[in-house]
Symmetry: C2
Subunit: 271 residues, 2 copies
């Protein structure tokens, strides 16, 4: 049965709220996800929360009741509280009716089976949590295996990144590593590394992308540094007809990823 929390001073309020900070996420090995849609996506992908907080209303949707039952059956800590206390826990004005605290979902680079997916996305020094979440969502759509975060990327388990991923955080493998570990791992097996750059004339549609293709995305403001560009098998550029010399990082990743997917689709059709 769910236990009820009625006071703002309950330690769980402070504990969950603290998970908005990376330091506390690390210490606890937990991160937050909010809202029925994302929590349902998580459950469908096999992830149930360690702690589930909900507002007990008569009109609670059936999907929410299922999620509560499944979390209880799995031995999770299920808590009911008021909308005002849930808002305090989540730090959001309008958090919806569900808040989950999930065990960290990081994967080690060595645990990745690169042949399990035709596309992998690699981001280096990505700074914006919205971009990171949007890239995860795109990865899910194109059938990518996961997102490999290289060097100092924003935390993929921040509330903003989880929200922007719309649940894809739970379907994509997530690796946090360093370039000096990533590159030897990449070269120890099959896989083509492609980066987008302004310092090339090669059109992104002029290259044939094998399986698996690793799409390398650079920092939002600076793009890829020279040494990482030099390590790519292909540097390509998308046509840009206007005044601007770059696309949003999540947009560029998606345009690139759909090109790879479309090539793979044509190969299947013609095979």
């Amino acid at each position: 049965m769910a236990r009820e929390i009625t006071g703002f001073s309950n330690p769980l309020v402070k504990r969950l709220r603290s998970l908005r900070d990376k330091k506390h996420r690390r210490a606890e090995g937990l991160f937050l996800a909010e809202g029925l849609r994302i929590l349902t996506e998580a459950a469908d992908a096999g992830a149930l929360p360690e702690i589930l907080v909900y507002v007990d209303r008569p009109d609670l949707p059936p999907l929410a009741r299922q999620l509560i039952a499944r979390t209880e059956a799995a031995g999770g800590d299920v808590v009911t509280t008021g909308a005002d206390i849930l808002a305090k826990m989540s730090g959001k004005d309008n958090p919806g009716i569900l808040l989950g605290a999930y065990a960290d979902r990081g994967t080690a680079l060595e645990a990745i089976d690169r042949t399990a997916a035709p596309i992998w996305i690699v981001a280096e020094r990505l700074r914006d949590p919205g971009n990171l979440g949007t890239i995860l969502r795109t990865g899910d759509a194109v059938g990518a295996g996961g997102l490999i975060l290289v060097d100092d990327c924003v935390d993929p388990f921040s509330v903003e990144a989880v929200r922007a991923s719309m649940g894809a955080l739970f379907t994509q493998a997530i690796v946090q590593t360093r370039w000096e570990d990533f590159l030897p791992w990449l070269r120890s097996g099959p896989g083509t590394l492609v980066g987008t750059s302004l310092r090339t004339d090669t059109d992104y549609q002029a290259i044939a992308y094998p399986r698996p293709t690793f799409i390398l995305v650079g920092n939002e403001a600076q793009g890829l540094p020279a040494d990482k560009e030099a390590a790519c098998d292909h540097l390509v550029r998308m046509p840009m007809l206007g005044r601007a010399d770059s696309l949003n990082a999540a947009v560029a990743t998606a345009v690139m990823a759909y090109e790879v997917l479309n090539q793979h689709r044509r190969q299947v059709k013609h095979a």
Copy 2:
């Protein structure tokens, strides 16, 4: 010569800061843009600020000095102040060294020459200013003529939208209109309206897109309503191989827009 503002209580501080609110933007006919990169893009596109505020530092970049000189030559109000007062004006902790207030850039639907560009982007009930700005940036890259905002979209002149557009706000025509005005206008001339939808089996690469193609983007959470889908010449879908049933709105727009651009590029090559 630039006039100097030394006090937080100067009326210009409050006036510029008030432009963060849509109500005040409307009343003044002005909006804010921040940072050397965006203000330089604006100037290159022919837009100089009505009011330009800068922090006078010895290491002011040459591009900033050029912008100041051009704004003064054009009769703009050029103001110098301290970094702390600029931060107060912009409402941002770290606004950079330049803040511009620009005259509204809205265009009437009737003033649009649709044959001037092969792609136009139409958004309906778009809610997120970051998405709106990102879509403008993509529009600039694919050579779109502009962004037509239908029904209750977020204000394209908000600080967040301007920032996400990275200056494309100054290169793209921006129309704010209603569906009941847009549709008769669209049908009064050439142009194909294409929307993305889950309620179709037509692959987005299975359609030939003429010039001009109008790409219709729906609300982030709800997509396009049935009546607007019914008004489209084509409803298409992108392949989505994962669990999620939608892409981020700015990502979907970009994938669609690059498909149209790529088809047009192939036509030129084969012509």
